[in-house]
Symmetry: C2
Subunit: 600 residues, 2 copies
């Protein structure tokens, strides 16, 4: 059975030492997040994820969820008890607002925990993850009464939440939604329609499920401008707020999926269910994006999470499994063969994983901090700067993070050779689970278009210009540290490729917008490479400083410098190749008639 240990030390390094969140102690919520407190939370959170949740991962994959003929859904053995423990320990409340029972801690801590939970068991982590998303929409767009009725139970985790967007004919293009919402005399709406791919749509973990549903009112415009958002509780609330009458919403079927078997992916049928409008009619898309953006960062974390747990198990195997001899001569001559670790190509895969995982963790946690600063920073200017950056980085964290997360999980399976293909060993589950993260919450091609079509041009490119400046400054300052000068030079070059690609879009997308579409995915990857390079420089500078002052833990910091160098050598060269692909434009890509793709 695969094992998992939360990378608490590494998360602590990033939060306390690299991002130095102590410096924000004056901001709301940050005062409590002292270095010691952060350390304790990470340790306890890591223990919970590793000891309570991780042991259910393989069970969840094998059993999956089951739907009875009455539409009720049973989660895999142990999920219910573990979820009760999750609620009892208050893990869902970490960064939620105190007025609804939250602990009011910085989001960055909840983000760190999200990684641990998702590594331990992605399917399990999705139940509270979706609750979070639903709660965040009510928190921003709900009425005071809605907040009071729903948020305390959702934030505690006593009730869970869902997000109902997709319909059979409607995925990315939400303008195609057909679910109807007909106003009723009492101010509620009757919701009728079918939603598919609804994660955690029905289950036995909680006594109530609060569905957030996109639907169209009868006279709404037939486009994304005609979408409204509704709260549709599984059980309507009594006056006192307790669950009362069963609402006309039910799970019609469970999907059979490649992975995340432990999470119930439901077809949800709404048959005149009672729904309550959130915010204004026809303004549902904006509310949906609140759920979406938080969810996208969480999904990026999932990419990292599967890469991390797969990496840990590949490391164990590479240490234990003996096969062949080192190219430089037997490393352990008394044994019949050397451990896999001696083979450069095994090292390559492990170092790629290490460089990606640690860099991605830093990027995602920085993203968490930016989310905090959007709300909490002292000045409007700082809040705006944080908002610009996180807006730009969200599609990168989601898209690059999950593309690479899947690639790393696949490579870690490769380290296991034939044994990686065998279900019992668990490596192939990591790959299957990681696969969904590239698809849901906006497929990665949609992320790429969000980045290139929306985030780049916004405010005349203000966000990306700020990002360029940030990277250049980091490179310049890092060049003076000899252990980092190679990475700094390479990072600067990669940043130059990103700038050139940006310029190319500016010059060529106006005449033909397909030129932007044709390069968007590559651009997202360059942005990912540069972003992780930035984080590796920051980590490297922190490590170099720690080594210089001799704070102890020298091996840890030395490994950071070596991995930073490796990152520069093996990740940054792709930026130039990607830029050249972008500059090829859309012509050959779009030239063929559709018939040319038919097999003859």
């Amino acid at each position: 059975m695969p094992s998992y240990k939360a990378p608490s030390r590494d998360a602590r390094f990033i939060i306390n030492e690299v991002l130095k969140i102590e410096q924000y102690a004056a901001l709301p919520g940050f005062a409590a997040a002292t270095p010691d407190f952060v350390e304790t939370v990470l340790e306890v959170a890591g223990k919970f994820a590793a000891e309570v949740i991780a042991p259910l991962n393989q069970i969840g994959d094998r059993q999956g969820c089951t739907r009875a003929s009455d539409g009720s859904v049973t989660t895999p053995d142990g999920f219910k008890e573990a979820y009760a423990q999750f609620v009892a320990s208050g893990w869902g409340t970490l960064s939620q607002p105190p007025e609804f029972g939250g602990q009011g801690l910085p989001h960055i801590l909840a983000f760190a925990f999200e990684e641990f939970l998702s590594s331990a068991n992605q399917s399990f982590g999705m139940y509270p993850g979706l609750t979070n998303g639903a709660a965040s929409a009510i928190l921003v767009k709900g009425s005071p009464e809605q907040m009071a009725r729903y948020l305390p139970k959702m934030i505690s985790g006593e009730w869970t939440g869902t997000k109902n967007l997709t319909e059979p004919q409607c995925g990315t293009d939400l303008g195609l939604i057909r679910t109807k919402a007909v106003p009723q005399a009492d101010g509620s709406y009757a919701i009728t329609g079918t939603k598919i791919f609804i994660s955690a749509g029905e289950h036995d973990l909680a006594p109530n499920i609060i569905h957030l549903v996109l639907a169209k009112t009868p006279d709404a415009p037939d486009s994304t401008k005609g979408i409204s958002l509704f709260i549709v509780p599984k059980f309507l609330l009594n006056e006192d707020g307790s669950p009362g009458a069963r609402n006309a919403v039910s799970c019609g079927a469970l999907e059979h999926k490649m992975g995340i078997h432990g999470n119930a992916t439901c077809v949800m049928n709404y048959d005149g269910a009672t729904g309550f409008l959130v915010g204004e009619e026809n303004k549902g898309l904006a509310a949906m994006f609140i759920m979406m953006n938080a969810a996208r960062l969480g999904v990026g974390m999932q990419g990292l999470a599967q890469a991390e747990v797969a990496y840990q198990n590949a490391v164990s195997y590479a240490r234990e499994r003996r096969q062949g001899r080192a190219l430089t001569g037997p490393a352990e001559p008394d044994e019949k063969a050397d451990p896999l670790f001696v083979h450069p190509d095994v090292r390559r895969m492990l170092m790629d994983a290490k460089a990606f995982n640690e860099g991605m963790r830093a990027l995602a946690l920085w993203g968490g901090l930016l989310v905090d600063l959007v709300h909490a920073a002292a000045s409007e200017e700082e809040r705006q700067a944080a908002d610009d950056l996180i807006g730009l980085l969200t599609p990168v964290i989601k898209g690059y993070g999950t593309d690479k997360g899947y690639e790393v999980a696949t490579n870690m399976q490769q380290v296991w050779g034939g044994h990686g293909y065998i279900a019992e060993n668990g490596m192939e589950q990591f790959v299957r689970d990681a696969r969904i993260a590239m698809i849901y919450e906006g497929a990665n091609g949609v992320q790429a278009m969000d980045l290139v079509g929306r985030k780049l041009p916004a405010n005349m490119g203000r966000a990306v210009q700020a990002f360029f400046a940030l990277v250049d400054k980091e490179c310049t300052e890092s060049k003076e540290i000899s252990a980092l000068s190679d990475l700094a030079t390479r990072g600067e070059k990669a940043n130059g490729e990103l700038k050139a690609a940006t310029m190319w879009f500016m010059q060529n997308a106006m005449t033909n917008p397909n030129n932007a579409g044709a390069g968007a995915h590559h651009y997202m990857h360059i942005a990912g490479i540069v972003s992780l390079g930035l984080m590796w420089l920051r980590m490297g500078r922190t490590a170099a400083a720690a080594l210089a002052t001799g704070t102890g833990d020298a091996a840890f910091y030395q490994a950071k410098l070596t991995t930073a160098r490796y990152y520069g050598e093996r990740f940054t060269p792709d930026a130039g190749a990607l830029r050249r692909k972008i500059e090829a434009g859309a012509e050959a890509m779009m030239a063929l008639p559709v018939e040319a793709f038919a097999t003859a």
Copy 2:
């Protein structure tokens, strides 16, 4: 349910028009392979694969194989009947020697059929595939009596074969084999040991299974120099050659795997089973490599095969599924949304697939032709040249072909969005099935070391020098064709990167062999990029000539030229990035102590 149509037209284009096998008509076996005959074989083979075998693919995945308590194994519904039809139609005999019942046709035709069969149903295709490999070892290393007793039934497909290498403690490193072979008074050997991951080790398709087993005789050297190869039939043969007494070999368990569920992956227990030595004692490794090399080309074909069938189903979906609008304005304004095909990022994935699949098909079929020329070419010089090239290209076809095949299958699943993750739609099966090809028959890291450590330095680099010259010549000649000049320039540049990387190994691997190991995988990918570039130039020249002479089918040839251009734009830039990674060497990769990989 996914669909499949064999790309017979494309295979015919490659065999008849690009490789022009008509020119070899004077060589043994080639006389029959006239263009018309090739066309007919491809059409009938394609029909058989698509109509008889493909419909069983999803059934096989869902049902898997089942083992009864007596060790017998049942294949999924329909496999037995389909296999009987396979045998009755003589599909296994295509390129086998006439003296044992084969049709004696060029291997290239059997290769083309292998792709179709594997696209239709990889699990099914493995049964005859393994038989082929086992037969080839007997054909080269067996005694005349062994050939006479086993080959006719194996070549007809009446009996199947297996290859038993792997043991629990022994994968790549065959020196670790523990299975014992004790000589008996009658000249046979008693074989005892456990073999794992034995594909098609036990099943209900054939009345006998001929296992080829690597084992060690009692006084053999404890290394790869002490391995012998044995024939161990499931049923020992009577004097008249009919299956007689049950041998002491049995299936102890079936593995539960990520994919290829329709193929029985067995733990095989040998309990003093009667085995017959093939060739000489301690010379088993050489015989094994005969099976291996043929198998590796076949596995490369599997990478292409899954990419191809996944591509076909992604194309269908992209034509039918409507979501969003073209960036350039509504393509079909009367519909509520445009088909996915209008979106550049969807096109990118489809064009990547098209460029890889058609290029890879050309490379693999050229490989098939080279296998023929190794045996059949008129002069020793030509035979040697063919042998050099196919030796060099085998790890490229296997390693690059399966890495990219998996990547393409994953991207084709991505085209389907959320629906690609749903089992019923079949896209995720292609990914799971494709995954094994990167692992078995020598994991791709082993292929990379075979290329860099064995094939490059052999005969002072004769093979790779010949390859460089071939590519340069093709580039020079193609530059004169305007539609190909961009690809020719880019191909020449990529070939330059390959030369530079080769030179770098020569200069740096002597002092530290890890420098070769650290870059081997990247080198294999550059070699793949250059090889497919070579094939695209050849295909492009053929297409340009056909267009110039107006032979008809202009859309087909025009699509080749456009796809060739796309290949140059989107595949060749990676060669430079890979070279830079190689030149980073092994230092940072190998620097960290193993403890630095432990999670803290």
